[in-house]
């Protein structure tokens, strides 16, 4: 980044290299995500079951983050919920990215296609984001499938716009014009000249959509349109905690809230790190 050039020279050398810092951040982020996924898989049998004897207990050695009104361990439940969020996020972000890539590349197929893609993108961006999410999730009848479809169908426009812009820049370049003049088809040009330079954008876009997808999954579950309420899900846990906070059970909200923030931040950092590593502009520093 250009900011890095203004860093005081007294810093140790390794801090002056944004690339290396980005790498470190990326590795830490990956490690945290790996820990979440592995932790959820390694949860012992019965860690998520209800227990009348341990209802609404504050944090203590046996239950590090306390228990909820049904006696379930909140730490274990949060871990399982985060893993589920990551999986939903992965699916939704993957689907969104594919849509964005298809539309972004389609925009280079002539003026008409470009207009259509541009119009679609503007239309989708113009609609309030969460309203669209709610409508799609509701139309799908809620549940995990509804959340994935809703998130997938609402997160492509930004990335599609970026890709379309990049693709147009490349499409206007001399070597593409030469390729076309030599009789290469549009598809051949898209495959050989467009796809490769766009890979860093696509990967970074995918990672950046991720935390959004997770947050929106939580949002939909929070208002009752997402995952079934007895399954571990951050949104469900937060909405359940609403009534318990009033009774003074703060810990019921603490773990899922902090966990969600941590995972979303981690992805944000990971995406940023990846962008820095892949962005040629970063090398100017």
């Amino acid at each position: 980044m250009s900011d890095a050039t203004k860093l005081p020279l007294c810093l140790p050398e390794h801090l002056r290299r944004p690339q290396r810092r980005a790498k470190r951040h990326g590795i830490v982020a990956l490690a945290i995500l790996g820990a979440v996924l592995a932790g959820a898989v390694l949860l012992p049998d019965g860690a998520l079951s209800v227990n009348a004897a341990t209802r609404a207990q504050p944090p203590q050695p046996a239950h590090l983050m306390g228990t909820d009104l049904l006696g379930r361990d909140i730490a274990a439940r949060t871990l399982a919920a985060l893993a589920q969020s990551v999986q939903v996020g992965l699916l939704a972000a993957g689907a969104s990215t594919i849509m964005a890539v298809v539309l972004g590349l389609a925009a280079t197929f002539g003026r008409m296609a470009d207009h259509v893609v541009g119009l679609l993108t503007e239309l989708a961006l113009g609609l309030p984001h969460f309203v669209l999410l709610i409508m799609i999730a509701f139309a799908m009848g809620g549940g995990t499938a509804g959340v994935v479809v809703a998130v997938a169908l609402t997160h492509w426009p930004r990335l599609a716009r970026v890709l379309r812009h990049e693709a147009q820049t490349i499409a206007a370049s001399d070597y593409v014009a030469i390729s076309r003049a030599l009789g290469r088809s549009r598809l051949w040009v898209a495959r050989h000249h467009l796809a490769q330079p766009l890979v860093p954008q696509i990967v970074a876009g995918f990672i950046v959509i991720f935390p959004h997808a997770i947050l929106h999954e939580a949002g939909l579950s929070f208002i009752g349109l997402g995952i079934e309420p007895h399954l571990p899900s951050i949104g469900v846990m937060l909405s359940e905690s609403l009534r318990e906070i009033m009774a003074g059970h703060w810990w019921v909200a603490a773990a899922p809230g902090l966990g969600l923030m941590l995972v979303a931040l981690t992805f944000e950092r990971f995406g940023e790190a990846l962008r820095q590593l892949s962005n040629p502009a970063g090398e100017e520093a």
Binding site: S49, V50, N51, A52, R55, L69, L70, G71, G141, G142, G224, E228, P229, H230, E240, L242, R243, E244, M246, A247, G248
Partner: protein, 521 residues
């Protein structure tokens, strides 16, 4: 801008001792009817019609006493009710209530076919201004419950917008109803029941959380709260737990899946729960005390039947639960064994697995589904909880197990839940249960010459020594708990003696609202 005069006026008015009977009462107890306040369409079926009055009513001990009717008599053959009305009853618009209005209400309700089930009524006739005769098509002893729940509407002004603007002879008249927000009522000056201690009563609707917030700010005087949260009452309020027959249980599909479907095209039957050994084992295994502790924070009672403790309940029919050893023995004897070592039993290649559907919006039923599922896994039955909307439950309830709840001051509910004629009708006999002996007992109960005489037949339908719908017999349900209805009540409010409440947390508590009193200045 600071206005000293008006500020002083407000401060003064707050300091002046307000007359104890003039304070408005604010209730946050939910129960807003979807269809408005029309008794003919079912308003008042659970609890209290508020704006209308009924021919008879239940007192706190569930004895029938007269309200609009001064005396009443059932003919020898059990077919004709003759009631004499009080002469001084008036609608809130000042017109007198006559036998014509009663006949109109009953005839219209029979034709409308709403929740007030009057299919057995042949005709209602006004003999003179204060005498009305209700003729039935067949003896039906539970018809007396209709007399206590159907509010009388005015024949002269009843119309299509009645549900929105009700006029009745009950203790209150409507001032304003903003749907989804609040209902404001005032005492009906023409009511025949005496003076009411409140100038105005507001019913605030909205979420449970909103009601609790109102209680904490001291705005609401009576708030319905979920049992699990009841203990943390805010200052100035006390906790009230009311005993109920509001029960929750697992309703089993009772027939094998043979490809049959309902009129709506949804499947009927479940090969696992159609096996009596499974249903009996579930009843033997469930630790109902633990479920009360888990789902209700201890504010409830274990349930073993649809009407625990009511006169038509048969205590003989219950079996003790919390006995996993006996349950496993039942399963072994029934041929259910764990052959592949996954902890779940099988029989002829069929896994002992089914879904337990609960409405996703109901946290108590969710807790019951989860608790039952955990307990059943220990005896090798895989009961998978599944949160759904009521629409989805309606489609799946004939082929999967559902957490349902009932409970009424009326044994006709026993009839609807277990009689073969009601198989697949509404939320009644969802399991398509049909046992000719049970049907005969139920029909004999309805045909009994008096209410007391019918009790023995209701009990025999549950268990007559050989068969019945209860846990000892066909085990059509696994009843789990009877809820306590929990409220926060202002320290200044005296509710008087309370009934055992029916199904429906909220409105039933207003049954005796006219006799509530403030106790502090």
């Amino acid at each position: 801008m600071f206005r000293p005069l008006s500020t002083m006026a407000i401060a003064l008015s707050l300091m002046l001792p307000v007359q104890a009977d003039a304070r408005p009462l604010v209730l946050a107890i939910g129960g807003e009817p979807d269809g408005g306040f029309d008794p003919i369409m079912g308003w008042g079926h659970y609890g209290n019609p508020l704006f209308q009055s009924t021919l008879l009513r239940y007192d706190a001990g569930l004895n029938l006493i007269g309200d609009l009717a001064e005396d009443w008599i059932l003919s020898e053959d059990g077919l004709v009710w003759q009631l004499r009305l009080r002469g001084d009853a008036m609608f809130s618009d000042g017109t007198p209530l006559t036998a014509e209005d009663v006949a109109f209400t009953y005839n219209t309700a029979r034709a409308a076919g709403g929740l007030a089930d009057l299919t057995v009524l042949k005709e209602a006739r006004a003999l003179d201004a204060t005498t009305v005769e209700l003729e039935l098509t067949e003896p039906r002893i539970t018809f007396v419950s209709r007399l206590a729940t159907l509010g009388i509407v005015p024949a002269a002004s009843y119309g299509s917008d009645y549900a929105r603007y009700p006029v009745g002879s009950g203790p209150f008249k409507m001032v304003e109803w903003r749907e989804g927000e609040q209902l404001v009522v005032e005492p009906n000056p023409h009511w025949h029941g005496g003076a009411i201690a409140f100038e105005r009563v507001s019913f605030v609707f909205g979420s449970e959380e909103a009601g609790q917030a109102l209680a904490r700010t001291g705005t609401a005087d009576l708030v319905a709260v979920p049992p699990s949260l009841a203990d943390a009452a805010p200052s100035g309020m006390k906790v009230l737990h009311v005993d109920t027959v509001d029960n929750r249980g697992l309703a089993f599909p009772m027939v094998f899946r043979t490809g049959g479907t309902t009129a709506a095209g949804t499947p009927i039957g479940n090969d696992v729960t159609a096996d009596r050994a499974i249903r009996v084992a579930i009843n033997q295994a469930l630790d109902r005390e633990a479920l009360v502790a888990l789902a209700l924070n201890g504010h409830g009672r274990p349930a073993t039947g649809p009407a625990d403790g009511l006169p038509w309940d048969n205590p003989e029919a219950a079996i003790p639960g919390n006995d996993p050893a006996a349950a496993m023995e039942t399963l072994e004897t029934g041929g259910w064994t764990d052959t592949d070592g996954d902890g779940i039993r099988e029989k002829d290649g069929l896994r002992a697995a089914f879904q337990v559907l609960y409405p996703a919006s109901d946290s108590t039923r969710q807790a019951l589904a989860l608790g039952a599922s955990d307990q059943l896994r220990e005896i090798g039955i895989d009961a998978q909880p599944s949160g759904s909307s009521w629409d989805e439950i309606g489609a799946l309830m004939h082929s999967e197990v559902v957490v349902l709840g009932w409970g009424a001051h009326d044994p006709s509910e026993i009839f609807y839940l277990h009689h073969g004629d009601y198989a697949g009708v509404d939320y009644y006999n969802t399991g398509h249960y049909a046992n000719p002996t049970v049907d005969a007992h139920l029909e004999a109960a309805e045909a009994a010459p008096s209410f007391d005489a019918s009790l023995a037949e209701w009990k025999a339908a549950a268990w007559d020594g050989e068969t019945g719908f209860s846990l000892k017999g066909d085990a059509t349900w696994a009843w789990m708990v009877n809820l306590d209805h929990s409220y926060w009540v202002s320290d200044c409010l005296d509710l008087g003696p309370l009934q055992v409440h029916p199904h429906g947390h909220g409105f039933p508590i207003t049954h005796d609202l006219p006799s509530w009193r403030w106790t502090c200045e």
